[in-house]
């Protein structure tokens, strides 16, 4: 009888949102195919071009006052000013907007009102000790 092969170490590890798979267990580390080599070469070309641009500006005899990082500028723009133009009303976004926008408000309205009603009921029944108001405890 043939048993199924035991689960790989990567499957036993079960990486998730909080931890990633170690490189030793990842089969992609040991992949030496020509596609991977070409991909790595292209990435290296992009990286060295960017590094050259940066180092030219950094070691310039009359350097610019601030070396702007276009990636940083794009990141800031994307997170602050590109959200509203690309936002779209879908069932999911309207549901999430209602939950996050109105949810806490309605929750606290009902909790505080119920608490104060309970306190009022206790005052009417005479159970609550009403000490005279003092600012100094």
């Amino acid at each position: 009888m043939a048993w199924a092969p035991p689960p790989s170490a990567a499957k036993l590890y079960r990486p998730n949102r909080f931890v990633s798979l170690p490189a030793e267990l990842d089969p992609a580390t040991f992949d030496t195919s020509p596609e991977k080599l070409r991909a790595e070469t292209e990435r290296l070309a992009i990286r060295s071009r960017l590094k050259r641009q940066y180092l030219l500006q950094l070691n310039d005899p009359s350097p610019p006052a601030v070396i702007e990082n276009p990636a940083l500028i794009r990141w800031v723009h994307a997170k602050s000013q590109n959200v509203y133009p690309t936002f779209r009303l879908t069932p999911r976004t309207s549901f999430l907007g209602a939950v996050y926008g109105l949810g806490p408000l309605l929750f606290w309205i009902f909790v505080l009102k119920a608490d104060r009603d309970r306190k009022e009921k206790r005052i009417q029944e005479g159970k609550l000790k009403r000490s005279p108001f003092s600012v100094f405890f």
Partner: protein
């Protein structure tokens, strides 16, 4: 994974959008602080055609095969690339980064949650023990301790005790009794 990353982020996004709208009313549309980058170098809407994808990949300094935008859910990502959710801890500490503390190179596309993944904050490096094992051990320990403490509260168990006995006729003078009157005699023993 994108939904989990978004959960705490929608409300400040709406506030930022409102602020941007108000700022757009104050200044002409398209105006930005003095910077040499033209509008086509900035992030834009979700790319629909393959040419737009190629142009976006070139804009973000990525390979076309590597470039993967966030799914077009209308949540406000636009054409920003979806990079793997790995913290800066996982990057090589011995490589000569342009910014060594951030482990980030000039011009390299930054993760959407870059400020969360810096080395002072969230760390997603692989752990020695798998996450599910760690959480199982921790939750088992916590639940067993809580259950035992709860049972101890519901069914307490101690040696038999009686009420505390005070001398000097139950501390008659100390409790404010009249010194001229004879105190009521309190006897705590039987012979």
């Amino acid at each position: 994974m994108a939904a989990g990353a978004l959960r705490g982020v929608l409300w400040p996004r709406a506030a930022a959008g409102l602020r941007a709208a108000r700022a757009a009313l104050a200044a002409p549309a398209g105006a930005r602080a003095a910077s040499e980058m033209s509008q086509d170098m900035m992030p834009g809407p979700y790319p629909r055609t393959p040419e737009e994808r190629a142009a976006a990949a070139k804009k973000y300094n990525m390979r076309v095969e590597d470039y993967q935008p966030y799914p077009d859910d209308g949540l406000g990502y636009g054409d920003y690339p979806m990079l793997p959710n790995k913290s800066q801890y996982e990057r090589d500490p011995w490589y000569q980064w342009d910014q060594p503390d951030m482990r980030h190179n000039w011009g390299e596309p930054m993760h959407w949650d870059f400020d969360m993944y810096i080395r002072n904050r969230v760390d997603t490096s692989p752990t020695v023990v798998p996450w599910h094992t760690m959480s199982k051990h921790f939750l088992l320990f916590l639940s067993i301790m809580l259950i035992m403490f709860g049972l101890g509260e519901i069914y307490p168990s101690y040696r038999p005790v009686g009420p505390k006995q005070y001398p000097f006729n139950d501390l008659y003078l100390e409790k404010g009794g009249d010194p001229n009157k004879k105190p009521p005699t309190v006897i705590h023993y039987e012979i």
